[in-house]
Amino acid sequence: MAKLELVAELTGHSDRVWSIAWHPTLPLLATCSGDKSVRIWKRDAGNGSWGCVSVLDDAHKRTIRSCAFSPDGRLLATASFDASTAVWERDGDSGEWECLATLEGHENEVKSVSWSASGALLATCSRDKSVWIWEVVGESDFECLSVLQEHEQDVKMVQWHPTEELLASASYDDSIKIWREDDDDWYCSDTLTGHTATVWGIDFNETGDMLASVSDDRTLRFWRPDTSHSNAASLGYRQDPRWKCVHTIQDLHERTIYAVSWSKVNGRIATAGADNCVKVIEKEAMTDENAPKFETIVSLTNAHGQSDVNSVRWCPLNEFGDLLATAGDDCVVRLWRYVNT
């Protein structure tokens, strides 16, 4: 039997916790909240306990909806309902985080922020229906590379591909869009339709040949680029492969599914939603790549009591690959260990 064992309960936020970001190389995570602050939590190397080491609370005037570490772990980006995105730098000596830049331009609430695999690009999205791509210039400046306005509604989340310069965005218009760059600008290379309500969360698998998405329609969907080039109809007009839905898990949660995390360490998928549940899903071995099968192996109810679970994230470190962080409307962040007895 597989299950999630509670490892730690991180309290300190004074409003609902919206999102979680694990540090790419250290046993450390950042969480952001309606209390307009980011808290950095760290594992004590001595006794293995988790505690808050920093509170970043002087950059945003409204809710911080999303946070993300750069791939080298040096920078933290935070997206806020105050229409700005802040970029923080960690001082190597003191470990303190200092606001390096604020990126303005979105008309209203910024909903999500994501760093590209190389750390050279940053993507943000907003209720203004746009996705912005920023380039890191020099040590601390950012230039807007593109403003993409093809979503018809509020864009809920942006997520870069784990290795390529390819961006996925999820929206209230029920679609997911894939963005690529050509000689001069970014363009929408594919629109993934199938969800029948808001797409709230997306995540790639380790190699980036699959994308998982969760929605208000209570399904978890899996998408793969169709690389069978014999089928010309599957190609976008720039010869980009079309992404097709290869599996749908219906009624995974009883209410809206808000978040999905695909572990880059062990390949397990975790979801969380408004039904207060956290689920762990595993891909069955030896299934056809174009018709994969999945199994729900953990179903944890009331992970945050009677509160919605807003975010779920697997730890990316090999050593702690079984650690799962969740955040809820109860202002609490919980760390769980996946165990298979």
């Binding site: 200092e98 606001c99 390096l100 830049a101 604020t102 990126l103 303005e104 331009g105 008309e107 209720r127 040590e139 601390s140 400046d141 230039e143 807007c144 590379l145 593109s146 403003v147 509604q153 509020d154 209230y172 001069d184 600008d185 363009y187 007009y237 720039r238």
Partner: protein, 511 residues
Amino acid sequence: MGFSGAVVLTDLNDFITPSQACIKPVEIKKTATEGTQIRVDDTGGYYEVRQDGGETKLETASISLNDCLACSGCITSAESVLITMQSQKELYEILTANKLAIAQGRPNDVRTIVVSVAPQSRASIAAKYNLTPLQVHMRLLWFFKQFLGVHYVFDTAFSRDFSLLESAKEFVRRYRQHRATGGVLPMLASACPGWICYAEKTHDYILPFIDTTKSPQQVMGSLVKDYLGSKIGLTPDKVYHVSVMPCYDKKLEASRQDFYNEIYSTRDVDCVITTGEVEKMFGEQGLGIGHVPEAEVESLFTKAVASHDTGIPMLAGTEGSSSGGYLSYIFRYAARVLYGINLTLEDVELGRNGVQVRAGRNIDFKEYTLTLPNDPTPVLKFAAAYGFRNIQNLVRKLKPTSSLRRRPTATSDYHFVEVMACPSGCINGGGQLKPDDDLASASRDWVARTEEAYRWVANKAGVQFPEANSAIGVLYQEWLGGEETEKARVMLHTGYRAVEKTNVSGLAVKW
């Protein structure tokens, strides 16, 4: 909709949403106090039902372009509003009213109709129908004057010469002041209404940087309503002025309060129709642009020269970019006036004689600098920045309180920036004709083709510099009483105001 009976609404001030995209709360005059109900009848009419049973029909909410200008909800405007408020239908109505007035023997009610055509619109039609812009101009002359009964057709490349001359003078003034006491630089071009709207609604700190010179459309507006009107003895309201533009946002520009004459309740430009709407007009009249007759070019308020071969008037070319050529003209003017360096068009275009041209991060950003011999620091540093992404980087760099907390901001050290909201500039305006095949690759070729059509005029007839346009010199004297007069300031310049952030109704916003 399945509304029936009385729908009870309390404290609701916007029960009709004009369009899904528009989030401006519409205020409806209500006498409502407590306990009133709203009844919807079978035809969709809304009635306020008082407690005593009496009913009052409620007005239908509508959004005007003025509302758009005053609202910070959208960057420019909901497209549906732009298309419905000013269109060819308005022009048809005036034409019909004129015919009626003549038929009924009311000559005093006939309004003089003027159509001013932008050179980018001519280029777009030329590119699509395999014509030259000169042919397009002659066909539009035939269509508007002989077919529809419009009285005058003018050319905004003509009024643009005023815009260029005034912009260049304003630039030199700002530059000298900057050198002396630290004036406001860079000067940012003001001809693009999308950019102006955006700056006014979201970046008020940018407004002092914007060139106060009116756009060619609005200079033509002053010229038509003030000068032409008085010449032919008509008050401004007796002249109906239409402009043909490559851009929907020009409709917003024409609606600005600054260009409204309160005494005569009339605008300098009464109606703006886009290139696409002109094409539609031909269709509505059962005509094909490719097959209509051509009328001879007239020289009144038209940038025209006599052909070398035939002596017949033809369109004269303009310098620089197809977005008005502000950068090129001001660059050369400043080099001459400030540093005594005479640059040719090719010097600026190709980067010679002290001019360096540097490609930017993308095709819509280009930098032009002028350095003097023996001094590596450029004395002129100009840029062309088109499209939203380049505008973003520009406004970020001009932001007064550094967005970088720790390190100093990389401030913009440009002296002038030709800013346009559309990628590729006005030639690719939102109102231009579209290729039949709507692929991105095709659209790039399409823009190049339109650009080529635009260039045809200068290649054919040569460039006529604004100083060489003798009619402009005459108008400065006759109309404005000379340069730098109060009249010249009023007729050729304008101002910008920040739009207050409105509290947008949360209920009307789609989350």
